[in-house]
């Protein structure tokens, strides 16, 4: 995906939006031009920026937290069939629970601060990363393990030279897959007892103030945040997993 493809897509969406707004002609769907003006105003007066930063910090913090806890756990389970046998049933019970339903519970126990919101997103990301990293580690070819083992590598060196680098793409894939969910859940988490965050901003303008252009400006900001996260993850992948890119370019069969 090239950067300018993203711009073209944005332009096309704007055109569709404009046409829809003209056809429907309702206050609840203002023209993208008006939204863009309001967005610019809100950026200049700093209003939306504060909400953006509050949300961004929550998402990034929960991403970092979940990678730090889920990746090692996934690696351990992937390496040890015994532990995997014990814990897999638990994962299969817990993984499909839509974590959003736990929002009231988490709020009750962790209060209304940032921690509760971070933990809610963390609960979702944690399982996605855990499962992907574990599957990556179990799917490593035994030939690869055996031949590195034969070079003298024991458990620690296998971890360092095989399991860890092998799990990096899985971690990044899991993060990429969960950006959308994370942002969606963020909105719900920010509906409750907070004064900063894009979720709060969107809800306030859309349902209380009935300021629809501002509501769409908030949605635009949220989508920009998702885009930034996607690009950030792609950037990390390019940097940390250059081999993925090289193989893709060559159209390798492996």
């Amino acid at each position: 995906m090239k950067r300018w493809h993203v711009l073209w897509a944005l332009l096309a969406l704007m055109v569709i939006w404009q046409v829809l707004a003209m056809v429907l002609n309702q206050v609840i769907l203002p023209s993208p031009v008006i939204v863009a003006i309001v967005f610019a105003q809100e950026v200049i007066n700093g209003q939306i920026l504060l909400h953006f930063l509050a949300s961004f910090w929550r998402v990034v913090a929960s991403m970092i937290l979940s990678v730090m806890l889920a990746a090692p756990a996934g690696l351990v389970l992937g390496q040890s069939p015994k532990l995997n046998r014990i814990f897999s049933p638990f994962i299969y019970w817990l993984y499909p629970i839509p974590k959003v339903v736990l929002v009231p519970v988490v709020l009750l126990f962790l209060g209304i601060g940032d921690l509760a919101k971070i933990v809610i997103i963390f609960l979702i990301l944690f399982f996605q990363i855990l499962v992907l990293v574990r599957d990556q580690a179990t799917s490593l070819r035994p030939e690869l393990i055996q031949s590195v083992h034969s070079l003298g590598a024991g458990r620690r060196a296998l971890f360092r030279f095989v399991y860890l680098p092998a799990s990096l793409p899985a971690i990044l894939t899991a993060l990429r897959q969960s950006v959308g969910t994370a942002v969606a859940v963020l909105y719900i988490a920010e509906l409750f007892a907070t004064r900063y965050g894009l979720g709060y901003y969107i809800f306030l303008n859309g349902s209380t103030l009935l300021n629809y252009p501002a509501m769409y400006a908030g949605i635009l900001a949220m989508s920009l945040m998702g885009l930034m996260l996607y690009f950030g993850i792609d950037g990390l992948e390019k940097r940390w997993c250059p081999w993925l890119n090289a193989n893709r370019i060559q159209g390798s069969t492996q």
Binding site: Q146, S150, L151, A153, N247
Partner: protein, 254 residues
């Protein structure tokens, strides 16, 4: 150099592969182990590599009983032995890195660490210096196996174990690498054992050929090979043909 005494090995599922199996290999010898798939020839190699262990009996190499992969033994598998996320140079250096990781502890790396650390030399010797920055997914099968050989020889092994190393390659590349194996053996003074299902490969690479028929193996049938290392145009055709026929009969092929 290698002694197997009354080695008995049974798969966990109960199939008996070796029963009181004896075998002896001298230093600097070149052996081929010939057998059809499922005959246990890979198991034999893994036993020698210290990756699996017999239920009873004793395997000793260079005077020491084998209880884990020996740092002086090199192992080359058919494929998938290279790290997909490391380029050729990094893959060739992997053994050295593993040794650095542990230090000369006599367990994962030899106590007297004498390796030349000359990765560039080996890349050049094996003709892969111009693809040193490429990843395994970008290489041909032949280049991949050359990388696997370079990675092993960098560690200056005294014993090289190869499991069907060339069977996934096309005929021309296979012959190139077979000749290269012989050249390297003459230059570098190591013992090698190549496991193969290919009768002509066994005749070309094995000064002695151990034929494994149907398991369980009580003792191996060993053939001394008069046309070892001879190309098609220099060997005695009748001798070759008789040997080929004998080996085929021993394998139980029609």
């Amino acid at each position: 150099m290698i002694q197997l005494e009354k080695v008995t090995f049974t798969y966990p599922e109960g199939q008996s592969i070796f029963r009181d199996f004896d075998w002896e290999i001298g230093q600097y010898q070149s052996w081929a182990v010939l057998g059809q798939s499922g005959c246990g020839k890979t198991t034999l190699l893994y036993l020698l590599a210290g990756l699996v262990f017999p239920q009873s009996g004793k395997i000793s190499i260079a005077g020491h009983a084998l209880s884990r992969p020996r740092p002086e033994t090199g192992l080359i598998l058919q494929d998938y032995g290279l790290l997909p996320w490391a380029n050729v140079r990094q893959n060739a250096s992997l053994g050295l890195e593993v040794r650095d990781f542990y230090g000369p502890d006599g367990k994962h790396a030899p106590l007297a660490l004498t390796s030349t650390r000359d990765v560039p030399f080996w890349l050049k010797r094996l003709g892969i210096d111009d693809v040193a920055d490429q990843y395994p997914g970008q290489l041909s099968g032949g280049q991949r196996q050359r990388t696997a050989i370079a990675r092993t020889l960098v560690l200056q092994p005294d014993l090289l174990l190869m499991d069907e190393p060339f069977s996934s390659l096309d005929a021309v590349t296979r012959q190139d690498l077979q000749s290269l194996t012989l050249q390297l053996w003459r230059e570098q003074h190591f013992t090698y054992i190549v496991v193969t299902h290919d009768i002509s490969e066994a005749i070309f690479l094995g000064k002695s050929i151990l034929v494994l028929g149907k398991p369980p193996h009580l003792n191996g049938f060993v053939v001394e090979n008069p046309v070892f290392g001879q190309a098609e145009d220099e060997r005695d055709r009748m001798v070759y043909k008789d040997l080929f026929t004998e080996l085929r009969t021993r394998l139980g092929e029609p």
